[in-house]
Symmetry: C2
Subunit: 541 residues, 2 copies
Amino acid sequence: MNVLIIGGVAAGTKAAAKLLREDRNLDVTILTKSRDISYAGCGLPYYVGGLIEDRGELIVNTPQSFSRLTGAKVRTGIEVTALDRTAKTVTAKNLDDGSTETLSYDKLVITTGAEPFKPNLPGIDLPGVFCMRTPDDAIGLRDQIEAGTLKRAVVVGGGFIGLEVAENLSAQGVRVTVVEMAPHILPMFDGEIAEYLENHLADQGIMTFTGDRVEEILGDGKVEKVKTSRRAFKADAVIMAAGIRPATGFLKDTGIELMPNGTVKVDAQMRTNDPDIYAAGDCVTVTNRITGQPAWSPMGSSANIEGRLLARHMTGSDVSYPGVLGTGVIRLPAINAGRTGLTEAEATAAGFDAVSVLAAVDDKAHYYPDASSFIIKLVADRQSRRLLGLQVLGKGAVDKVVDIAVMAISMNATLDQLENLDLAYAPPFSTAIHPFSNAVNVLQNKLSGALESMTPAQYLAGEAEGYTVLDFCKAPLITGAEYLAPGDINGPLEGHPLDEKLLLVCNRGRRAYMAQNRLKFYGYRNTRVLEGGMAFNQVTV
Amino acid sequence: MNVLIIGGVAAGTKAAAKLLREDRNLDVTILTKSRDISYAGCGLPYYVGGLIEDRGELIVNTPQSFSRLTGAKVRTGIEVTALDRTAKTVTAKNLDDGSTETLSYDKLVITTGAEPFKPNLPGIDLPGVFCMRTPDDAIGLRDQIEAGTLKRAVVVGGGFIGLEVAENLSAQGVRVTVVEMAPHILPMFDGEIAEYLENHLADQGIMTFTGDRVEEILGDGKVEKVKTSRRAFKADAVIMAAGIRPATGFLKDTGIELMPNGTVKVDAQMRTNDPDIYAAGDCVTVTNRITGQPAWSPMGSSANIEGRLLARHMTGSDVSYPGVLGTGVIRLPAINAGRTGLTEAEATAAGFDAVSVLAAVDDKAHYYPDASSFIIKLVADRQSRRLLGLQVLGKGAVDKVVDIAVMAISMNATLDQLENLDLAYAPPFSTAIHPFSNAVNVLQNKLSGALESMTPAQYLAGEAEGYTVLDFCKAPLITGAEYLAPGDINGPLEGHPLDEKLLLVCNRGRRAYMAQNRLKFYGYRNTRVLEGGMAFNQVTV
């Protein structure tokens, strides 16, 4: 059987290698436009930041070494320009000499990936405008840093790639500004989390301008200035990270079913609507594991899983892709952020009776040298009590918290099943009550009514209007608010009638919870604990 | 209702605080022999190592602050010496003046914990012999370090506590020897894993002597020498970490059912055989979540879960403890180790048809600065394909890998359910194919027959007898073995008949797996990949 694979980065090379391990009699050929295959696309921002020193480290395999190791043929510099499903052929153009040839297939695999979206702006082709998709992009940008000609950069787009580049440029001493069209950076997080990160990045010297749009790039022979709908910035470089587009143009009018965003529609076996044509990686739409709705997951991790799975299916295994959770994790200056499953907004939009809690908890034993906090937001379905999503921020191992939630959500765990877990504890790693368990307990307390709280999102939306703020921090922290310790509550509070609306605020939420417990005992009926306390919220009186 | 709690460290304080939050009308009193309550027992080795600078950080709450915060009464310096279940009273001895009193209870909670086992050896009471159970132990040991009189130390016992102390002493420049009675240190790991760690510790300057027993501690007014059944060591200090014993002596002849090891037997609601008496923490035996068999889990994490759970049950919640997985994690010099669930030996002993695999995989993107390897051993049941246990070693975040497995095992996940998980990936945190997924895939390949391998335990047991070793490392590494690259295999190998027994060894296992795939294609019938390759095994020809 003759298998043609169009595209040779993550999904394509994984599929080729696995196909030949499953059945060495297959004739497998990778066709790729590029000179490189199997390069570390996710590592490019870290090459810019100098964490990856040598460009050679970006290349996982050369075409030769890959071919020798796997037995797949690799043809570089070949662009597939057309597909004839009836004849089962593709038209391939040799990018060196411009010649074309017709190649036939028994099975075709489309792993053409995606390309950076380059809006048609004045100045977009000026030297100093970069994308972040191929090794050449990263090398060009670092060359400019090393030449000392990059003092100010504008990153267009505040998603994962844009912020990874921003972080690495900032670490190199470049002054970075991020411009994002949407109301917040990182749209895969709930708004209040994104807003927290925007403030954090500002503290770290990276300014983010949201709800703004680049209109023009100006300069005399090279980038000098960026004009947006609301501002203008001096800049020595512009990094376009305003999204990607699937590289599926050649499939137009072939009858291969595409999604509205241009990605290939596939089933749970990674087959297109043509049973002899598979697709995987950044150029396909898969499904969300929770909702079953279409989901685009242009991630190296998904590409590998999908490439492996289609190879197993094509060689006769009974396999099925359960779909993605939109998992993501990012290192930012002095903070990490991760997420999986549904945000509160997504859960509500998907029809769940979503309930959330935001808990600020220790990430490891408080006395251990680099101990810090996690901000964990859990989203669950009130009815089924099923965990739907998690978002986490912190200086430490946010990926651990995400991965626990990935496992839980993938197994359809309810909050009750997430209690009393024997998770790993030793002081260098965690807390005796595990941070994840701690957050689960807080949400359980909220659902049982033991904790009556206000979420940061509700606070931002003005729901504290009419509440009197009481400051229960370890030491007074809120200017203008009455200060109390939880232990001070041994009866009704002087000057505070039992029906008064009281917003209880402490450093992280725990002391206010204990205070609420006492206040309720003494008859207070309208108290609310502010989730995340001063660690997350900016409270003013 | 009047609740007496005997013991005020993790389980006791957690139970007290939760009881009063659930029902502030309760009259809750903690009775404790000690002067401190709620101290960070797990932090003591790190105080010795100087990571925790100030002794004040070891104390979570003073009796006064705890009492003020929770509303529980705390009486320190009180030892309970007798229990009268009929009268529902305890006899309490005041350790200051020797007086006794009788205290009545409606509900009693036993959280007396455990005490270090001090064998009755000549010299055991010499100055310079330490335990590691209370803040005073740790303070005494560090004082000796700071006084400059501690150059050599012998740690008796190679369990978690013993090795944590060894690591911290070693970090302080003390020359440390560990003596362990059992055939291996860390008996909660499979033997080949423990042996790997013994070799690693030796490389790091910590000598472990197993199958050896301390017989006498010698010295003139202070520790000078330790005599074992096989050796003698100079020593300025001896740290006794040879196990703990539940502090349940006062329960003898009370009719409270105890286990053979002296721990209190409790049900899933943490009740003893007396419905008015609960117990939790280091002094109880609970159940193993997988086997349902009795399990002793003297861990701060279990104590907190159990204390919280009994408080909820006593105040009317319908709760049930699913039991423990024996989860543990430890930081050692230049390596971390973690485990959960059943070892291969435990799984076999419990009647499972245990199958295991040991995989050496990247812990994060190979090009990222502090990237290293994980050694992951998975244990599963061949019949049900259920994951039963995981052991992991590595310089990086072994706790993450453990916690994923805890979640999986707690949800009774099968290996098939553990494929295609959308776990977190970005280069600073993980690999595109997640290390956990990678190990799962290797075990699936072994179960399907795609991988035919020899485990390190089988190799150690001599099963490679009669095999010809072929070296498939990236560069020749095995003296005396024939060297080949996987890509060299394009037909039968000269000089190697198709029925020859071939042991395929590479750096970690992956290249040998690819080589095996090719060899099988060309007709070889008796090949085995050595799991973990040279990264884990010491291969000689």
